[in-house]
Amino acid sequence: MINSGEVLILPYHHVVGQADVKLALELNFIAPRIGGVLISGQRGTAKSTVVRAFSLMTRDRLPVTLPINATDDRVRGGWVLDALMQGEAKEQMGLLEEANGGLLYVDEVNLLDDHIVNIILDVASTGVLTVQREAADRVKHISFGLVGTMNPEEGGLRPQLLDRFGLMVIVSELDPALRQTMVSTVLRFDEEASRSDSRWIKNGLENDLRLRNRLEYARERVHKVVISRRVAKLCADLAAQFNAVGHRGEVVTALAARALAARDGSDEVKVQHVGKVAPMALQHRRHDAAHGGPAEWTEDDSALLDRILGEAKP
């Protein structure tokens, strides 16, 4: 792989706003079974920057990235051409295999070509990558979390792919005060990134490290967090009330609520944990969104959620 030019990414700590996006990524890190995060938002809302900064913070490297114009040999895997020409058959790992156990990031996921989407869906739904082409014949069990960013102005996602994302976050525009902070931060990063001894960047990275330690600790203890039958029923009721298609909605709601409890240092999942994650877990699984309509969470939805949560509180 050719790597050219030092990649400069703003430390996660310095990313302004985007609380919901950060929360979703952190929950997915604590409980990878959530299955990934879809970040939908208008152009220029730092969606990609947050994802890359998060990956650098938690994994010390950029995420395995699937560009929208990738060819299928790079997605599934193929042969190393140079070695082939020397008479040696050397396998080249595909991006899906490379993302095994981690994240596969797709920027502009709604612009991905249909045949690549089909490959991802095949592997994500079965957990098996099968390569039978060009004299290659191999089968491998893999699992990865899918993280995608998209601008809904450019079209939506196929329902099958939408469902593969455990959580969905709709990025909101920053208010004027945060916008001002964002502008100042970006310009400061421009300045500081050119200095090798920047205290500001160092401070950001130290904070990132502290957060990473907290997230890793939460990940270790997430399985010890108790989820009661009452809370599990609440997750199921919410999915039913919001007309979520299939059963992945309630499962992901419960997984995310437990991850949030672990992140907050709680020993059991409480109603407020469920309430916090329910929009992320359910909004893209409702009937309209699952059949090609817009995924959105309205004030009426929030009111309904509050009512259901209120009834569920002991």
Binding site: I2, G5, V7, P67, N69, M85, D107, D113, E173, Q180
Partner: protein, 634 residues
């Protein structure tokens, strides 16, 4: 300290390009209404500034309507290595490897006509922290540093994806840019093939030259007050790219001016440069009028400056350029507190971000690779959506073909053949050949005119269903012309949009738009005439089209009123007569590939109007409304 005054278009463009050369974060610059002949000289001047600012060579790449992915990301090559022919792939022109390979400069002479592959490449790389490529076994990851210089006609902005336009937050009006060469020089230059114009933008002022030549932007702080003013100027603009770009532009201006702090005055200067108006004071634009002397208070600020970097040559240049073109598109006249309202929508000064207000004329999801499903064989002119084993020699995909061949070079059969022929060449067999799979160019078209004023109490979806179903089954392009909608920016005009397929959600919305008061039927038919002419004369792939007009024929807006945007007096039957005249023009096209029908809205009175309309278009009338009017369905 000096504060910049922007005179001629040349000065604006020169300054914007100097800022882009100085500030690595200003990667996308869009020039509005640049004369196509001036793209090359402007590019040359920008390239020289980049060379000065970076100390590197400049690698130029031009993208156009036929640019394909294979040309952008990979550079395949064949070379002889130890007596054997080796196929290798190297990074393509969009893969940055600065400073080793020089700094990239991507030129898009017409952004409207940029190919799908080029548009997707821009979205992937412009302004991104990191970009990557994974194609045909080749992998690369890099920090995009190339500058993009694009041009487009402001009137055509609505055809471009806003997602793509957002990658070009620095916009400059170049409408007034004129060549400084006289006619004789131009003729001689054209005949002798000499460089067109080396002084188009005027010489780079010495102070700027010094700053650029330092090769590295010095530190410059942006105070909170300036950041706040930037946010205030941009209002509720979508996303953060514009704010960040304006901040970087502000900083670059301050640095060019030798300042260590980019204060609010530089914010105002940056806003003037791109033609941004103050939303909090709409009658007091930030721009200084080119053609009039500055107001006294502004002049005082300018007088206080010590070094406005303008040479005598600049002034002459400005004068030469200014005369014919001092009607700036972005900039309004001097602040005038007498008029606190806008008289007419068209009088309002244009914004550097016209896509925020323009009625979209682009296709639905324009950056997405088209669907492959089709009922009919397609031509070979559609967008590339993949490769397959070639069955003919048409439309071969050379890179995948050679790559396929390269995989098998070491097999005994091919090795012996290469040895036998003693040519040491890459052996390509017919089974290696790959051809492009292309999205179909549409061969069917449905043109629908929906007159919302005739829909009272009528669910016209039933009447339209057969035509929509035909469009779905045959994967037809669908063009919808809406007349008389209440939700329209101008009720005197009809509006159209084109969808790749009938599944486009805009079509569903268009079917149930509430009715307004005006019915610009003549203008709607005029739009149809243009669409059909374009479809049959320029898009030769269209084999069959259906024109479905749903109207009661009672147009009440004359065509002239629609075109000029105002009604000047009583209209009488003029709207109806104009509609019939345009309908006759459509009928006179005599297209045997066009099926025309008018869905009878059963108007009462004037029930004969739909029949007159159909007769004029050489079409037929079909029954539409079958129930009595029961009230307003809208």
């Amino acid at each position: 300290m000096s504060v910049y005054e922007f005179g001629a278009a040349a000065r604006r463009v020169l300054l914007a390009l100097a800022c882009a050369a100085l500030e690595p974060g200003l990667t996308g610059v869009l020039l509005f209404d640049l004369d196509p002949e001036l793209v090359e000289p402007v590019t040359e001047e920008f390239a020289s500034m980049l060379r000065l600012a970076t100390g590197c060579s400049v690698r130029r790449t031009t993208l156009g309507a036929s640019t394909r992915d294979d040309e952008l990301w990979l550079q395949p090559s064949l070379r002889l290595d130890k007596g054997r022919m080796v196929f290798a792939t190297a990074p393509g022109p969009l893969v940055d490897n600065a400073p080793a390979d020089g700094v990239g400069l991507v030129i898009v002479p017409d952004l409207v006509r940029l190919s799908l592959a080029g548009a997707r490449a821009a979205v992937q790389t412009l302004g991104a922290d990191v970009a990557s490529i994974e194609r045909y076994g080749f992998r690369a990851r890099w920090r995009p540093q190339a500058r993009w210089l694009a041009a487009c006609d402001m009137q055509e902005v609505a055809q471009i994806s806003p997602h793509l336009l957002d990658r070009f937050p620095v916009r400059v009006n170049a409408a007034g840019l004129r060549s400084s060469l006289n006619a004789v020089d131009l003729v001689l230059g054209a005949i002798l093939g000499e460089k067109a114009d080396s002084e188009l933008l005027g010489p780079l002022p010495d102070a700027w030259h010094v700053v650029l030549a330092r090769r590295g932007r010095p530190r410059c702080l942006l105070p909170d007050e300036a950041a706040g003013r930037i946010v205030e100027l941009l209002g509720a603009a979508p996303g953060g790219r514009r704010a960040v770009a304006l901040a970087r532009l502000t900083r670059a201006l301050a640095v060019l001016d030798g300042a260590g702090v980019a204060d609010v005055r530089y914010v105002e200067a940056a806003a003037r440069l791109i033609g941004l108006h103050d939303p909090t004071h709409p009658s007091a634009p930030t721009a200084v009028d080119d053609s009039t002397p500055p107001a006294a208070e502004t002049a005082a600020v300018l007088r206080a400056t010590t070094d406005v970097p303008r040479s005598a040559g600049d002034v002459d240049q400005d004068r030469a350029n200014a005369a014919p073109a001092m009607q700036p598109l972005f900039e309004s006249g001097r602040p005038d507190t007498l008029d606190a309202f806008l008289v007419d929508e068209r009088d309002r000064p244009a914004s550097p971000y016209p896509e925020d207000e323009a009625q979209p004329l682009r296709e639905f999801a324009p950056l997405k690779t088209p669907w492959q499903q089709r009922a009919e064989p397609s031509s070979t002119r559609g967008h590339v959506v993949g490769v397959r084993q070639a069955s003919t020699l048409r439309d071969l995909a050379f890179v995948p073909s050679v790559m396929e061949a390269a995989k098998y070079q070491n097999l005994p059969g091919r090795r012996s053949r290469a040895t036998h022929d003693a040519c040491n060449q890459l052996v390509v067999s017919p089974s290696d050949l790959r051809s492009y799979v292309r999205a179909p160019a549409p061969e069917r078209m449905l043109v629908m005119l929906l007159d919302h004023t005739c829909r009272k109490g009528w669910d016209w979806e039933i009447a339209l269903a057969p035509y929509l179903q035909w469009a779905y089954v045959s994967r037809a392009n669908t063009c919808v012309i809406e007349v008389g909608s209440r939700h329209t920016p101008s009720e005197l005009r009809a509006h159209k949009f084109t969808a790749k397929s009938v599944l486009d959600p805009r079509i569903g919305s268009a079917l149930y738009r509430p009715a307004g008061r005006a019915s610009p039927l003549a203008h709607g038919l005029e739009l149809i005439r243009q669409v059909l002419r374009h479809a049959f004369q320029h898009q030769s792939s269209v084999d069959e089209a259906w024109l479905v007009v749903v109207s009661d024929g009672r147009g009440n807006v004359p065509l002239q009123s629609s075109l000029v945007g105002q009604v000047t007096g009583p209209v009488g039957r003029e709207g109806v007569e104009d509609a019939l005249t345009v309908a006759e023009d459509i009928g006179a096209m005599g297209q045997i590939r066009l099926h025309t029908l008018v869905v009878d809205a059963a108007p009462s009175p004037y029930s004969d109007l739909p029949f007159q309309l159909a007769r004029a278009m050489n079409g037929v009338v079909v029954a539409g409304r079958v129930t009595e009017m029961t009230g307003d369905a809208s």
